[in-house]
């Protein structure tokens, strides 16, 4: 995997890591899939703090439909990792009640499409609770949602929900693209005193990487430049970071140098990193899976032209899904933005005078 360039010193570097049983028995940084990294993060967070609770549909006995929560119920007991009735609004609703009593709930919504029944609890209560209590009550709830498409799934299992949460003040939204980020963004989300929506790119669950569970990665609110380039900035996140990196290899054959910015954290947004890159390249393409209209690309494009208008050599372009429902699996390959759609945008941007 591509490494983050020039990791700067950051808040939390000097804080010793809490040691759980796995950390003490694994002396070297392990190679983990993203799914394993998330599992390790849940394990380590539960070992570090008794207040952390994991619950949802099929998370305990089964270990989750993707086995992401495997072993947690056995290790920490059914009071701390438990199966709930099949009701997403209920899952988020009890998380709010548990948070009021000082717990750090980490509920799972089994699939992106099933976040819809929980929408009211997330938007009307979870997001607003701190403000509605005039700052008196923390809502340290981390909602894990296996998200996005590309796995040939049946309908309601491939949705991009981030725009809903990003349009809701009070929620934070993070999307890891690598196993290391999956581990650290989740650890940081769980200790955040605000609610965090943690979207897991399920088609990257099986990517592998050495994960250093001792040295914190970048905090929530910081983007990472995954590849340095000079001609066009590609701004993306989650499952499409790997897509952008492979497109960047292809772009080299055309003589185009792409810089790939992985947002990691959509709210809070690290616009400074985006701006620094676009100032350098003068061109930006935003890429995400979800439909184009009012996707996060619309916000990023607006923001880039508002703040960087005179640095731009070309309009900000968007390589996205279409304004249709997510298509059946046999059509998803052509629906999803891939290297071709991204490079078409790059070509248009480079073709500007």
């Amino acid at each position: 995997m591509t490494q983050i360039i020039e990791r700067p010193p950051m808040h939390g570097d000097d804080v010793p890591e809490p040691r759980g049983p796995i950390l003490t028995t694994v002396p070297q940084a392990p190679t983990l899939t993203m799914a394993q990294a998330i599992n390790r993060a849940l394990h380590d967070a539960m070992a570090a703090d008794d207040r952390v609770l994991v619950f949802g549909e099929d998370v305990a006995t089964l270990g989750g439909v993707f086995r992401v929560t495997e072993g947690l119920s056995e290790t920490f007991g059914e009071q701390r990792c438990f199966d709930t009735p099949l009701a997403e609004s209920g899952i988020v609703g009890i998380a709010i009640g548990l948070a009021i009593r000082g717990f750090l709930p980490v509920p799972e919504i089994q699939f992106d499409g099933f976040a819809a029944p929980a929408f009211d609890q997330m938007v009307s209560h979870l997001a607003k609770y701190r403000m509605r209590t005039h700052g008196d009550v923390d809502m340290p709830v981390t909602i894990r949602i296996p998200s996005f498409g590309g796995i040939g799934a049946v309908e309601h299992h491939s949705e991009s929900t981030e725009s809903y949460w990003l349009h809701t003040a009070g929620l934070k939204v993070v999307v890891p693209s690598t196993p290391s980020d999956a581990y650290w963004l989740l650890r940081q989300a769980i200790v955040s005193r605000d609610p965090v929506i943690y979207l897991e790119p399920k088609r990257r669950y099986w990517t592998r990487e050495v994960v250093d569970t001792h040295t914190p990665a970048l905090p929530i609110g910081r983007a990472a430049v995954r590849r340095v380039g000079t001609d066009v900035t590609v701004v993306t996140y989650g499952p499409l970071v790997a897509t952008a990196l492979s497109a960047a290899e292809l772009a080299e054959e055309h003589g185009w140098s792409l810089e790939v910015v992985d947002l990691r954290s959509l709210n809070p947004l690290d616009f400074d990193t985006v701006a620094d890159s676009v100032r350098k390249t003068g061109r930006a393409v935003v890429m995400h899976e979800g439909p184009r209209t009012l996707g996060f690309g619309a916000e990023l494009a607006a923001r880039i032209q508002e703040e960087l208008f005179y640095d731009l050599e070309a309009p900000v372009l968007r390589a996205t899904g279409f304004d249709t429902p997510y298509p059946p699996a046999r059509l998803e390959k052509v629906w999803l933005p891939g290297p071709d759609r991204l490079l078409d945008c790059v070509e248009r941007a480079m073709g500007q005078p």
Partner: protein, 367 residues
Amino acid sequence: MALPFPQPAAAAASVDLAPIRLVDPDGSPTAEDRYSRDLPPETLSWLYELMVVTRGLDSEFINLQRQGELALFASCRGQEAAQIGAAACLRKTDWLFPQYREIGAFLLRGITPAQMGAVWRGKWHGGLGFTERCCAPISIPIGTHGLHAVGAAMGAQRLGEDSVTLAYLGDGATSEGDAHEALNFAAVFNAPCVFFIQNNGWAISVPVSHQMAAPSIAHRAIGYGMPGIRVDGNDVLACYAVVAEAAQRARDGGGPTLIEAITYRMGPHTTSDDPTRYRSEVEVAQWAALDPIDRYRTYLQGIGVWTERLEERVEARSKRVRADLRESVVGADDFDVGEMFDTVYHDITPDLVRQRDELRAELAKEA
């Protein structure tokens, strides 16, 4: 041959349609002997004081709304016995999860008129300082906060406490999906949670008969596998006794209870509503004759707890609380605009800092 599924643990329970009543509408004690009405005299007079002061406060809220000082108000007139009886039997560390009409319960918990008035004044959402009194902020999306009560009760289980939570819901709320999920979760997890449904007859303009086809709201408890009890919601002692019993069962590990308190909303849904469009004067007059405060006063007179001195004390307290509301709401400063940005997150985001600065610059230009 029996099907290879787990067999039910217990036979289905039944629900008595006749509500529990300890004091008849004429103020005389009933023959009901399953529950006790013998509370210490100071508790009996405290309940009376709470009910009278709540009604006075309620009237003052309506006055202030009529005078243009408040945007809106949802009166609890007629429901004082239900909401006060339910909260009065609990410990002050038992969390309450109210709707928006429970000013009697707020008063009982020591939430000040200014703190509850903040909502109706439009000063702040949710109310101020509620959680310091183990009371959740008001919840306007109907039926959704029952789940918070269940989650908090599950938290109490995990903290090893013997506390309970109480969710106030209404008849309309029981039609919401979240109410179903809350009742089901509570039963499945045996959560120490009491669901107190104030069936006041009307969800704005829609009568209970249009909310469900079940024989009663309490009957729904059968399907969830928890006790369901109907109580006369205009009888403060019955509400006190029934909730006390349910709370004790929950503390002892016996799980949740669904209580249907039958009462009546004497006023409009809110100050913006016109109930003459959907209900008859005859119906309102019938319920006026069942007034919970009149009934309780007569009962107290009968047992010698009511005295002229008590009445004077209660009236004086009512007057003070009404004056307090008027002064604290009308005289209060609005919050600084920064508060609406600063309370969204624990750590404000860079974008919100920017937007807060933009607004401050905008306001400075106008000034």
